[in-house]
Symmetry: C2
Subunit: 303 residues, 2 copies
């Protein structure tokens, strides 16, 4: 199962009772954090989830509301006696940002690894998750992220027996190993049924609507999408600042049909996003105006 929590839902700056937008997902004992603005460490503490399993931090872009919490977050990880490395993945220039972060937080008791995303789309194997960064459209380089948990087919006892594969190889084959045995090459495909449906979450903020978002959101269990403005006629403002209205997000969801959509990254001026949800739900009914701490657990279909 994949746990997802949206630690904050604000854009631009943290406010009393609204942290800036940041998301954490945990799967199989490892966590991935997306974005780390000022106060994200407090938001995580309020949520009550652990800092310890956060092996990877994904950064969408370099505006301060998405990175200014890095020094404090990393120091707090260090104060919790972390010694395992932490990987930060972000747009080109991530290294330069981390150098600045290290000026403010010079003493970390663990290695900080930096990965700069190349091109318009790149996929990373992170713990047991497949993370794909995909380019979106903001006024500086910005990526959305797809987090996918793939799921192999079920073990097929009848096929394994028909192939005459000794029982001692069943478990390693199920785990994906290939085995040489009496001149034969035994592969997982010989004993596994076709891949089963996995889990997919797509996260994107600070962007105009793009085809890349729509394509990644197709078949997603959850789309977490910016809805910076909600007022009628706010689309001009959204276009000017390269953000998205709640209604534009709804239109993406209508086309991509994820199982559910959470709106986030509200403008500080958008005090009550739920006021605009009727217009959003008339386009895409399974939309939620997310609140700080919004949480969901996704289960595999057979779980």
């Amino acid at each position: 199962m994949l746990d997802i929590s949206l630690l904050g839902t604000g854009g631009m700056m943290p406010l009393p009772r609204r942290w800036v937008t940041s998301c954490i997902m945990r799967y199989n004992g490892a966590s991935v954090l997306i974005d780390c603005g000022e106060g994200t460490q407090v938001a995580l503490r309020e949520k009550g989830w652990s800092f310890k399993p956060v092996n990877t931090i994904l950064i969408t872009h370099f505006h301060a509301d998405h990175i200014a919490g890095l020094p404090g977050f990393l120091l707090t990880m260090g104060n919790a006696d972390r010694t395992d490395p932490v990987t930060v993945i972000g747009p080109k220039g991530m290294g330069r940002i981390l150098n600045a972060v290290r000026v403010i937080a010079p003493e970390l008791p663990f290695e900080l690894k930096c990965v700069e995303i190349e091109g318009n789309e790149q996929t990373f194997a992170i713990d047991d998750m497949n993370v794909t960064a995909f380019r979106v459209n903001h006024n500086i380089t910005c990526y959305g992220y797809e987090i996918a948990i793939r799921r192999k087919g079920r073990f097929d006892v009848d096929r394994a027996r028909a192939e005459g594969i000794p029982i001692r190889f069943w478990n390693p084959l199920q785990k994906g190993q290939t085995i040489e045995y009496e001149g034969r090459t035994l592969t997982p495909e010989m004993v596994l049924g076709s891949a089963r449906k996995g889990l997919k979450v797509v996260y994107t903020t600070d962007t105009r609507p793009t085809r890349s978002i729509r394509e990644h959101a197709e078949g997603a269990d959850l789309l977490i999408c910016e809805g910076m403005y909600g007022e009628p006629d706010s689309d001009v403002k959204a276009r000017t600042h390269r953000h998205m209205t709640m209604q534009e997000a709804a239109e993406i969801a209508r086309q991509a049909q994820p199982k559910e959509m959470w709106l986030t990254h509200y403008s500080p001026s958008l005090v009550k996003p739920e006021l605009f949800m009727d217009s959003v739900r008339s386009v895409f009914p399974r939309a939620i105006a997310a609140k700080d701490g919004q949480e969901m657990t996704l289960l595999f279909e057979e779980e």
Copy 2:
């Protein structure tokens, strides 16, 4: 009158319901902020005081809980349409820190001036305040700050008349101007009584007890002082990390006799500082375990 608010009272990291230690003082339409850790902008917003008059930010030292909020704080000042310059005063190396801050917050619509403190003590005239940075004793270079409002003597009408000074010069002389008139040099001293008692606040955290703190705190209206630990036998821990216990702060206050002392910069492990206030008050009775948002207004004696 001088308004003082302690925006946060924590050390090391911001916690739910406890911001890191930071202080704002406002006098005659201008504000000075001391230290700016992660979340200080939210603490100021919760307090309800304005960002606009903050012309100067004083930094005690470069640990992240005292500087990591600078990018967000400055950006929020910028978002409030500030165009007047902001001056940041701190230890040697302040420029290097501000360069890192500018990597995270590159687009500020105002000039950021940087002043690096020289030597063990330096005084700055800031708006209508006299700010003295004085060296304290931490594991990196650290300063305390004395904020003093000086007050000239009362205008002495009888003396001005006796000196034969025309009435049209009274006001400029009272404001501190010197005037050449009919071969005479007219000075403020000729028409003002002796200086009246002003106001003095001393702020210091992240230090062992020092003579400099004691000397500056003498005659202060308020001493804001670190009291990182309170438990019996925590003095070993305090010495090791170059911090101060609540009881050590009390001893400084007993010697310097400020009118009142606020304790702050509590360790995250010090959940209920008030539990240790009996032992503090047995040494210095006018001590308060400050809380986030603690506030005081100091009036001149004749006000």
